[in-house]
């Protein structure tokens, strides 16, 4: 049987179109990307048919994890000069007689994810270097009636930014009592309109079936 003679020269594959394509995809991804925020607790949002997108600004998002911890996330407002986050923290500090330095306020302004730190631990939390160290302090915002820090956070957030909208982001498996508690706290502070954050799911109803 004759041997098939393999070409000895290494074949040159022209990679230019591939590089072109990659560049296009890369540019597209770089321009459209909104970084997925690393939440301190993993949350699987439930599904709904609602198609309203999450507002970009003026939100305070309450994150309810499955282990009944409550986290809060604020945004800095439509203009970064507004600096809502440090203002709220400063108000909280005043209430608890804690003086936050400029550096700490700046750190809080930049911190991208939800935070669930009791205010007395806030200084240590802001001083912690990386996410792993920070996560130790994320024990959830206290919500019991003796020391209801969540209510104060909500109060000061609304004072600093009156246009803020309450968003609730919960895991489908979060127990109802904690949800109820948080809703009660919000209602005590006269927040009656909520945005529940969900993922989109299509629902179809067969009309003929109903008309039968």
């Amino acid at each position: 049987m004759p041997k098939i003679k393999l070409p000895t020269k290494s074949p040159h594959i022209d990679m230019t179109p591939m590089v072109d394509l990659f560049s296009v995809v890369l540019t597209f991804l770089m321009l459209t990307t909104t970084m997925r925020q690393q939440e301190p607790a993993p949350v699987d949002t439930p599904y709904s048919i609602s198609e309203k997108p999450t507002p970009d600004f003026n939100t305070m998002t309450l994150l309810l994890s499955t282990d009944d911890r409550v986290f809060l996330n604020l945004d800095n407002g439509p203009d970064t000069l507004l600096k809502f986050r440090p203002k709220v923290l400063a108000e909280m500090g005043k209430r608890y007689n804690i003086e936050f330095t400029d550096g700490e306020l700046r750190e809080f302004e930049k911190y991208p994810a939800s935070m669930g730190v009791p205010i007395l631990k806030m200084k240590e939390f802001l001083a912690a270097k990386d996410a792993k160290e920070k996560s130790v302090f994320q024990t959830g915002i206290p919500i019991d009636s003796a020391d209801n820090q969540l209510a104060l956070w909500i109060l000061f957030t609304r004072q600093v930014n009156p246009n803020v909208q309450a968003c609730i982001k919960g895991d489908s498996k979060t127990g109802f009592p904690i949800v109820k508690k948080v809703l009660d706290i919000l209602q005590d502070k006269n927040v009656n309109r909520f945005n529940l954050i969900t993922s989109l799911e299509a629902a179809k109803i067969n009309l003929e079936e109903i008309q039968k």
């Binding site: 109802f176 309109r193 109803i205």
Partner: protein, 221 residues
């Protein structure tokens, strides 16, 4: 590419020939692959959606009675444990706690709660569906998305046959059930629904229906 090089040879452009036209692009491709993978994994493609809900204001003044609603149109839905749903029509008085009506049990499937709601809300649902049909087929045209929503809201407002749904949650329910039931309200086009606190006798009804040992007592006066 190969042909172009061939042509160049024939054209006799010597400058182009001197430099080897083959640049090894492999490292560049590698890098790009990495970057693309990174961006693909970190990008949140679909933005999360929100579902709006407005809860009735809390009545802090004890002298003000909560608004009255007609009992014949009232439908109580109670979220039970393990994704079960219980419902009963009308009202139950706290005084009748020894003789509570049985609860109907259903679930989140299309033949469960959805069918039950649609049966009761058929008139309004048909109106909304007809309106949507007319918008899609172009019989009504020139409406913006907002005015379509507004028209549907008006239809819901004018409706006086559909049920008034009171959603309540037993303590073992979870947040997913809560969102699901509100979602069902939107799917079925229920005009009037709200979320209210569960009463102690309703907790008792749920416990009887699902065979859990009773944890609630009638409040002593």
């Amino acid at each position: 590419m190969a042909e172009i090089i061939q042509e160049e040879k024939e054209g006799g452009k010597k400058k182009a020939k001197k430099h080897a036209p083959h640049i090894d692009m492999t490292p560049m491709v590698d890098l790009m692959c990495l970057l693309i993978t990174f961006f693909m994994l970190t990008t949140a493609f679909s933005k999360a959606k929100v579902m709006e809900i407005v809860l009735p204001e809390k009545i802090k003044d004890k002298n003000v009675d909560p608004p009255k609603i007609s009992a014949s149109r009232t439908l109580n839905i109670i979220l039970g444990p393990d994704g079960k749903i219980f419902w009963y029509p009308g009202t139950v008085k706290a005084e009748d706690y020894n003789n509570l009506p049985p609860l109907q049990e259903t679930d989140f499937s299309a033949t469960g709660i959805r069918q039950m709601l649609l049966e009761r809300n058929r008139a309004l649902f048909k109106k909304i569906a007809d309106f949507n049909d007319q918008v899609i087929t172009g019989k009504i045209s020139g409406l913006s998305q907002d005015s379509v929503q507004g028209a549907i809201r008006q239809l819901k407002k004018d409706d006086d046959t559909g049920p008034i749904v009171l959603v309540k949650a037993y303590k073992k329910a979870n947040y997913g059930n809560f969102v699901d039931i509100l979602d069902e309200m939107n799917i079925c086009g229920i005009a009037r629904y709200t979320f209210v606190d569960i009463a102690w006798y309703e907790e008792k009804m749920v416990e009887t229906a699902s065979g859990i040992a009773s944890t609630v007592q009638a409040p002593t006066k």
